[in-house]
Amino acid sequence: MRRIFIIALCLFAVPGVSAASVAPGAPSLAPGAPTPAGRPLWLELARHLEQVRRSRPPAIVEDGAVDLLRLRLDVQLGADGRTVDATAVLTVRANGSTGDAFYLWLDEGLAFTTAEAPGVNVLVDTLEYPPFVYGVVGFSPRLAAGETVDVALTYGGRLVCGPYGPRASQYCGGDGELSYYMASGLFPLVMDYADPYGALAYELDLTLRTPAELEVLVAADPVSETVDGAWRVSTWHAPVYTSGMNLILLTGQFDVIEVPQVAPPTTVQHPTGHGEYAGTMAEWIPTIYGFLEELAGGPFPFGQVTVFKLPIMDGFPGTATHGMVYLSDAYTTSSMQWFEEILTHEISHLWWGILAAPVDLSRTALMTEGLAVTSQYEYIRRQYYPDLDADWVLWSKLRRNQIYLWYLTEPGTLPPILLPEGAAWPDTVNEQVVWAYYKTSSFLDLLRVTMGDGLFFAALRDYVAACTHGECAFDDVESIFGQRAETDLSPLFDAFARRSYYPELGIAFVPCDQDAEPCVNTVTLSKDVETTLPVELLLEGADGAVLHRELVHLADPAADFAFTTAGRPARARVNPRLQAFYRVFSDAPGDVNFDGETDGFDWMEVVLAQGRRAVHDVETPGLYDIDERFETRLDLVTDGVINGAELEVLRAGLGATAGGGR
């Protein structure tokens, strides 16, 4: 079996937004922390299969592995939008000594009616996992290793389109204006019998018969379309379709806006009568494409791309797949800049997960969600704040990451970015989102600070070149970035991705004497872990301007670093972008402004912040319940609230110096 892609149904929905819970103007979207599940559907279904297999007596569990070479679908969808009559012809090749089985997932309202293949009996064992049904398709006699066969399966019935998971996600749904149908519902979702988490890459042909009055839009390249009486017959093709590409059909009446002068040709489409924001999206797209082209090293290798603006509808906030990006109006409820940022996130998934799809998606979201968040942050920085200090702009974004990591979840128990073999995604929605989106993007930013922008983005282009339609896994990512970096990155991958280190850094700053020439300043760093840590130091003037920045590598438990500056710095700080993982304290207790001493200014900073909480709702915190302006450096006891505990630390430390008085 070619383990290239993993099924990623709804994988790329943006965190915290469940269309079912979204109301216009109401940005508080996230479900509560204790809610179980919320994993991507493909993972949910694969886990179910794995559990079923484990529950069986060992003798019955067979190895099985197939290559799916081609999938030809002929699907008729009735005028009610629910009645289905379909044929699926799968060209499969057995690639194991005994293996020849696979799974097919469908909506629970559908049933397999016939199954046949030339010269061999096809066995379909149908099982239920509401709101789905799946067939275990096997052969008698078994296929020999390397034997290829065309299996024709017919199925039909009436779609139920039931919700699943705590977010009430749906694989089909909609109303008279717009309906959507995904794999595992109307279209079969194929999984390998030997490895449900494994991936398939195949050629896709689809013939679709739908009511003539409805327009259709499929996540594949259009081939033809005719109207035959009451039926619209459209054919679609994709030379390389993968499990990572969710086969999605939209039906309804659509309006189309051409995006000028972009490659590949791109349209923004939306249901007729729901054109709000669509023109603005079309205006944004050339800039977003330009940014992503620079990031990836070239344009998307699709014949065309459609960005579909979804109305707010149950169970479908957005996703990306073969040449298609879907995004819900739900994201307009905060601000237009946020909508543009999330549009960038979703479009970037055409690279990060669709074209360059890691094979170990069941164990890590580093190069999918992590890169999509990295892309959205960097896009906004370049688009709106190119003249501001990049560290400051990125920190204003990454502070959210730190607050999520430190306060919305428990950093000590949140799993490492690369899950250990056999480990599951975290249990709660908050943990899943923080783990998949924010821990990963924090780590990528740690790499970026360590490597520098030039090498980091060069490595990203290397990754695209090596892994588009490839078979890259986490170790390949480490290798690709490691080859570009000027320092050994493996300790960072080990400490922050394979394990969950949160080192504590101590910093003591002694500026040069007044009017000293040259002005030689000393910064002493200490740490509580053995790993060599990259630390970017910022020496700032009294007005906050950075007088000197330098990346140092702290190998010993403590070390002094001397820096000569043109003027006398007022403070020395660790680049706050690193502080999703590093917990930084001045050696002078309570020196929250890192000027090397604890004084009235530190006191007043903490006094002013009295009562602030990192997370507003401490009982059932959600992703939108955080205070994004919460100053983590003021939280001296790391409990997520600035109160008397911090004042006590300051009162005890007032007058203390880190490395000498002044």
Partner: protein
């Protein structure tokens, strides 16, 4: 020795002790009577932090910091320079005139007194139109002329965003020989 004799001796000793104590008080009063608190007056206009009152008595100096020309400020981060060989910092007490009880802390280090006093950002701030901020207390070990000066480049009045209020002048004071 008779009981009466012992009583006479004890009485004599106590009288001598009282005499010595009285003499010492007189000497100290005599010496400190030469010193008086003097403060630099605030400028005629503009926001200012200054000493509105001071009293030196029985080896203790009590000096009141006041402020004027300030509206809706969060508080004060102040640094004062003292002669640590002469004065020992005892405490800082926020004035009772604050409309809400402020958070205050102060400490001395190497000839400096560092203090912070103020209110949280959500308090709405405090106006100072010639009102006391708080009182500094020192023990004066060496009763001689000495200054109590702000370090203006390291002192500030802070607004509700934590930003220094511009244009504030800081006026110190000190003990000076009585004229």
């Amino acid at each position: 020795m008779s009981v009466r004799g012992i009583s006479l001796m004890l009485s004599a000793v106590l009288s001598l002790a009282a005499f010595i104590t009285a003499c010492a008080d007189d000497l100290r009063r005599e010496k400190t009577d030469f010193l008086t608190w003097e403060a630099q007056p605030p400028p005629a206009e503009g926001p200012a932090v200054y000493f509105s009152a001071g009293e030196f008595s029985r080896g203790r100096l009590v000096a009141t910091i006041a402020a004027r020309g300030l509206e809706r400020v969060a508080g004060f981060a102040l640094r004062l320079r003292v002669d640590e060989g002469k004065w020992r910092f005892v405490e800082f007490r926020p004035a009772s005139a604050w409309t809400r009880r402020p958070h205050a802390a102060a400490a001395a280090r190497g000839g400096l007194v560092l203090l912070g006093v103020g209110l949280p950002a959500d308090s709405g701030g405090e106006d100072f139109a010639g009102r006391p901020v708080g009182t500094l207390v020192f023990e004066v070990a060496d009763p001689s002329a000495a200054a109590l000066d702000f370090v203006p480049e390291r002192s500030a009045v802070l607004d509700l965003h934590g930003e220094p209020v511009p244009g504030v002048t800081f006026q110190g004071g000190g003990l000076a020989p009585r004229r």
